[in-house]
Amino acid sequence: MNELVVIGAGSIVLIGAVMAITVRDRYQKLIYLSLIVAGVMPFLAEKGYLDVLTVISLIVPISTFFILLACRRNV
């Protein structure tokens, strides 16, 4: 695997994971969660799992929408 892709996408995933856990605001947590997804996608595309990549690209916005419904009210 190309080292530049590994370093770039891996640092995106690590930054997203650390910030999604440490940040206290829920909306900022959601933004960093989508940063994790954006970092995982090059790994999938580089190994040739384009069908899995299609399913993730369709399902992740729906999942984000469901969490966003819960973020709006104080539970």
Partner: protein, 79 residues
């Protein structure tokens, strides 16, 4: 040891600690932190080349998130 496996294990460790001890201690924060080890598990599955596991895990992750959100909202309404 390919990079996906190492990255996935790091994500599982970080996300498990974050889901066990969330900073604002409520249900939604715990649920958002629970997404992080889910993606780490997906990276581990990717390193072992399991296509069917990847596909089914993506679907179940979104569906279980929907069910958890409904349960949290019902519990918040009833107190």
């Amino acid at each position: 040891m390919n990079p996906e496996l190492i990255l996935g294990l790091i994500l599982i460790l970080l996300g498990s600690v974050g889901a066990a001890f969330p900073k604002p201690d409520d249900y939604v924060t715990r649920l958002i932190n629970l997404q992080v080890p889910g993606w780490g598990l997906l990276l581990v599955m990717l390193s072992f080349d399991e296509t069917l596991a990847l596909l089914s895990f993506c679907g179940v992750l979104a569906f279980s998130t929907f069910i958890f959100i409904r349960v949290i909202q019902k519990r918040g309404e009833t107190g």
